[in-house]
Amino acid sequence: MFWSYVKTIFRNISSSKVYFFINIAGLAIGFTVFTLIMLFVLNEFNYDTFNRKADRIYRVVETQKAPGTKAQQVAITMGALAPALASGFPEVEDAARYIPWSTVLCRYGDRQFYENGLSFADSSFFQIFTFHFIEGNESAAFDGPYSVVIDKSTARKYFGDADPIGRTLSIQAGLDQNTFQVSGVIQDFPRNSHLHFNMIASMNAVERHSRFFNGWGNNNAVTYVLLKNGYSPEELEKQFPALLRANLPADSWNALEMHLQPLRNIHLYSDQILYQVNYNKGDIDYVRLFVLIALFVIILACINFINLTTARSAIRSREVGIRKLLGSYHSHLVYQFIGESIALSLIGLLLSFPVVEALLPTFNSIMGGRIIIDYNNELSFLLMLILVATIVGLVAGFYPAIYLSSYHPVELLRGRFSSSRRGIILRKILIVLQFSVAIGLVTGTGIVVSQMDYVYSKPLGFDKNDLMYIPLHDAESRNKIGLLGDRLLGNPKILAVSAGERTGAGRTQGPVSVLGTNGRSRLLVRESYVDYGYEKTMGMQIVEGRSFSRNFPSDSASAIINETMRKILGWKDAIGKQIEMDNGRVFSVVGVVKDFNYSSLQHKIDPLVIWLDPGRCPYLLVRVAPQNMQSTIDFAGKTWDYVLPNHPFEYGFVNNHLDNLYGNERQTEHLLALFSTVAILIACLGLFGLTLHTTEQRTKEIGVRKVLGASVGSIVFMLSTESIRLVIIAGLVAWPTVYYLMSRWLQNFEYRTAISAWIFVLSGVVVFLVAMFTLSFQAIRAGLTNPVNALRYE
C-alpha cells in the first residue's frame, strides 16, 4: 500500500509539472530563508556558551541615576568591587576585573604594530572563563607582574615559528614598565564570544602604576563574578546595597544600584547598557524580527501549497472517489494526502540545501561574518530542519487533505467535480494574507531606507564629510600635534588641522558642579578634550562667546559648553559662569557651541563640556579638499612618517566611522530588502499558479466569449479583476499594521523621519505592478488563443 502511495505521488508530480514546480520552488525558497535565518539565530544564542562555567558566570551592571541625565545602565564598575566580592561573600567562587586598554604600539625586534586588542585582568579571570592554552597554563599565566598572554595569531605575527614563551614584548601602554614577558599562548577567540582580545596582561602592571584602579571612586573595570554551585544571583544582589553603603559616600547611595547579568544574556540583552565590552553586540529585537520573517516566508510557501492543492482538487477528486469506491476509508486518504504534502515539503527542504550552501557566504557577509556553525556537522540542527519541514508538510497538507478526502464517491457516478464555495473564500483570504505580508515587508523596507537616508544626511551640527582622522595613541604623538599641523597646512589641499574627538565627544562622562538658576547642582556631562581651532576644523558653530584662542593664555582654565547644557542649567548668558570639576579645578565658560550629534541618532544630545587639553586629544583631525583625495592622504602619510618615524601611520574618515555606528540598522535594511523580494517572489509564484489554473478552467468560457466578439483586453481584464481586488485589500490590511510596527521601531531613534504617505503608496504600487505582470502573462496568453482551439479543448 505504501509503495502504491509513493508511486501516486510521483505520477501526480509528472502529470502536473508546472504546479509541482511552483509548490516546490516556494517551499525551497522558504526553507532556504528559514535555514539561513535559523543559522544566524542559533549563532546569536550560542554566544559565550563555550565557557564551561557559563551558567555560573555573571557581569555586574550598574544603574546610575545621576542628575542631568536619564537613568543609565553601565557595565563598568569600581575597581575595588571584584576583590571585595571575591573575599567577602560565601556565594562567590571567584571574581575578576577586566580592563580593555586603548590602542598601543607594540614591538618585538623590528616588528612593530598598533594593537587595539590589549586588555588587563586579574589572574582569577582564567579560572572563570575557559581558555585553550596552547602553551603555558591558566594557573601560572600571571605569576609575574608584567606577564602577558597572547593569542596564536599574535604569537605568529611577532615571533613567527619561534617559541614565544619567555620572550619580551615592548608594549607602550603608558605604564611604569614597557616590557612584558609572554607567559602563555591561547587559541584565537571564537567569534561567538562577547570578550575579544589578542593580548591580555596582568592587572598587577596597572596597579603598580596607579591606585586609580583599586578604589571605589571611579568606574573603570568590568567585573565578572563566578557564583558557587547552588547559589542564585538574587542572593548576592540582595547584599549589594549594604556593600555600597559601606564603601561609598552618602550622596551616592541612592544614585547607584547594581545587579548581575548572566553571561548568556550579555550578547543579546545589552542594548540599553552603556560602557560595555561586547564584541559583535547583538540585539534580541532583531533576532525576534528575523525569526518572524522566517516564519512569514514559510507561511507564504504553505499558503501556495494550500491554495494550489485545493484549487486543483477537482483533478484529484476522481482518484479520491475511486479509492473510496474500492474500499478506502476516509482516514486512509487523509494520511495519503498529508503524507504527500510532507514528502513534498521534505523534497523542498532537500532542494534548499545547495541553495543555502551557495548563499551562505553572501548572507554571512551581510550579517557581519557572524555565522560560524558548520551546519552540515550539526546533527541536531539538521534534525530540527527535518522536523520543521515535517510540520510544514503537516500544516500545509492538513486542510487540503481534509478537503480532498471529503469528496464523496457518489459524485463519481454523477460526474460532478466542482469547487466548493468555502474553498474559494478560504483561497481568497489566503491570497490577501500573502500579499499583506509582501506589501508589509516592502513598506517596512521603505521606511527603514527612508530613516537611514535621514540618518546619513541629517546635518549633525558639524561637517562630517572630507574630514580625516589620524589616531594619536601615545604622549609622544600628542606632543607633535603642533608640528604636524604646521607641516600639513603647507599643502593647499589641507584646509584646517586640529586635534580632539573625531565626532565631537568621546565615550567618557564625568560629574561637574555648577551654580545654575536653580542653585548649585551636580551634573553628569560628556567630556571633550580639544586643541586650538577645533570648532573651525570640525565645522561647528559658536553661538555665544568665542572658541579657545592662543591670544588668551588663561584658556587652559576655560571651557566651552553646548546649548543643551546651557538650557538645562537655565542660563540666559553662559559666558563667565563657573564650572567646578570633581578634583576641585574651576573653569569659566568662554563660549557656547551649537548642539551637535556626537553619536548615532538613536541617542539624544547630553550636556557637554569642551576643555582645551592637547595632551588628552585622541585624534588629529584634518579637513581636506574633496579633489584628489588620495594624493592628500599620501602627503599626510609622508608628513606623519617624517615627524613620527617610529609610529605606523593610520587614518580614517569621520563619515565612514559614523556610518559604521549603524551596523545593525544597515543589516536590517539589507535583509528586509532581501526578504521582501523573497516574499513577493513566493506570493507571485502562487498567483501565477492560480491564474494558470483559472485560465485552464475557463478555457471554454474564454473561447465562447471570443466567438461572441470579446477583445483581448476585455479577456485580460476579466481574468485579472479578482486578483487585483485581492491585492488592494491586502494593502489595506497591511498598511495599518506596518504603520504601527514601524512607528515603534522608529522610537529607537531620538531623531527620526516622519513616516510619509508616499512610502505606502509606492510600496503598494510596486507589489501591485509585480502582481499585474505575473497575472497578465497568463491572461494575455489566454486572450490571444484562437477560440477554435479553446472550444476544441472541451
Binding site: 505520477r11 476522481r318 472517489g321 469506491l325 478506502s328 457518489v410 463519481l412
Partner: protein
C-alpha cells in the same frame, strides 16, 4: 442477496426537496442478472448508489446478505462494500496515474491481501481479460473497450459477489459494447450477481429481468428468464 423495502431517498437543498427514489421495493437473489431502465432523472443512479452502499437511504429498509444495512455508518458500509461489491462505470473511472496492473491491484490493497497472493490474482485476471501485454500501460494509452475491460477486471478481481454497472456500454461502440456485455454475462454465469443500469433495451434483454424506474418509482418488473433457470445453469 439484496432486498429493499419501502426505500426512499430525498435530497434537500435550501429551496427544493427532490424525491429521487420513492417507496421502492426490490429483491435480487444471488446469481441474478438484473437490468434497471428508465428515462434520465428517473432515479436509476441514486438507486444504484444506495444498492452499492455508497449512500444511505432516507427511509426504508435495505437488506444486504441478510443484514439490514440502511443504518450502517460510512465505515461499516466501506468495509462491506470492499469485499462484496464491484463497480463498472460508463466513463470507466480508472486512475489515470496508475498502470493497468496497478488499477486492477488497487481493491486488493484495500482488502489487505498479501503481496504474492495479490500478484497471482491480478495476473490471472489480466489473462482472463486478455490484457497481459498491456499490464504496464496507462489508461490513456488504451482504447475505450480495453479501458472498460480493465474496469471490469478491477470490479471482480477481489471475487466480489455483486457487480453494479452504470451504463457500462454508454461510451463504447457496438462491438466493444457487446464484448463488455459478454464479459458480464460470463461473470454472471460464473455465479456473480449483476445489476446493470442501461438505456439500451437490447442490452437490457441480456438480463434475467428488467426493472423500470419512472420519477423515482419502480413501475414494473419484466422477467426475461426465470431465476430458477439461472440457478439451474450453475
Amino acid at each position: 442477496m439484496i432486498r429493499i423495502a419501502d426505500l426512499k431517498k430525498v435530497y434537500r437543498t435550501d429551496e427544493v426537496e427532490t424525491i429521487a427514489v420513492a417507496n421502492a421495493n426490490l429483491r435480487v437473489d444471488v446469481g441474478e442478472f438484473v437490468a434497471i431502465m428508465g428515462p434520465s432523472g428517473s432515479g436509476k443512479t441514486t438507486l444504484l448508489t444506495i444498492l452499492g452502499l455508497l449512500d444511505s437511504p432516507t427511509e426504508g429498509e435495505y437488506y444486504f446478505l441478510g443484514n439490514d444495512v440502511s443504518q450502517y455508518s460510512e465505515k461499516q458500509r466501506t468495509a462491506l462494500r470492499r469485499r462484496n461489491i464491484g463497480f463498472v462505470f460508463q466513463n470507466f473511472n480508472l486512475i489515470n496515474e496508475m498502470t493497468v496492473y496497478e488499477n486492477i491491484e488497487l481493491p486488493l490493497l484495500y482488502m489487505g491481501i498479501g503481496s504474492s497472493e495479490r500478484k497471482a490474482m491480478v495476473t490471472e485476471m489480466l489473462e482472463k481479460m486478455r490484457m497481459t501485454t498491456r499490464r504496464n500501460h496507462l489508461p490513456q494509452q488504451l482504447s475505450g473497450g480495453q479501458q472498460q475491460r480493465v474496469a471490469v477486471a478491477r470490479a471482480v478481481v477481489g471475487r466480489q459477489r455483486l457487480i453494479l454497472a452504470d451504463e457500462p456500454t454508454g461510451n463504447l461502440d457496438s462491438r466493444n459494447g457487446d464484448e463488455v456485455m459478454n464479459l458480464l454475462a460470463q461473470l454472471n454465469e460464473g455465479g456473480a450477481t449483476i445489476i446493470i443500469v442501461t438505456h439500451s433495451t437490447e442490452y437490457a434483454s441480456w438480463a434475467n429481468r428488467t426493472v423500470q424506474l419512472y420519477d423515482g418509482h419502480l413501475v414494473n418488473e419484466n422477467v426475461t428468464r426465470g431465476v430458477e433457470d439461472v440457478l439451474e445453469l450453475r
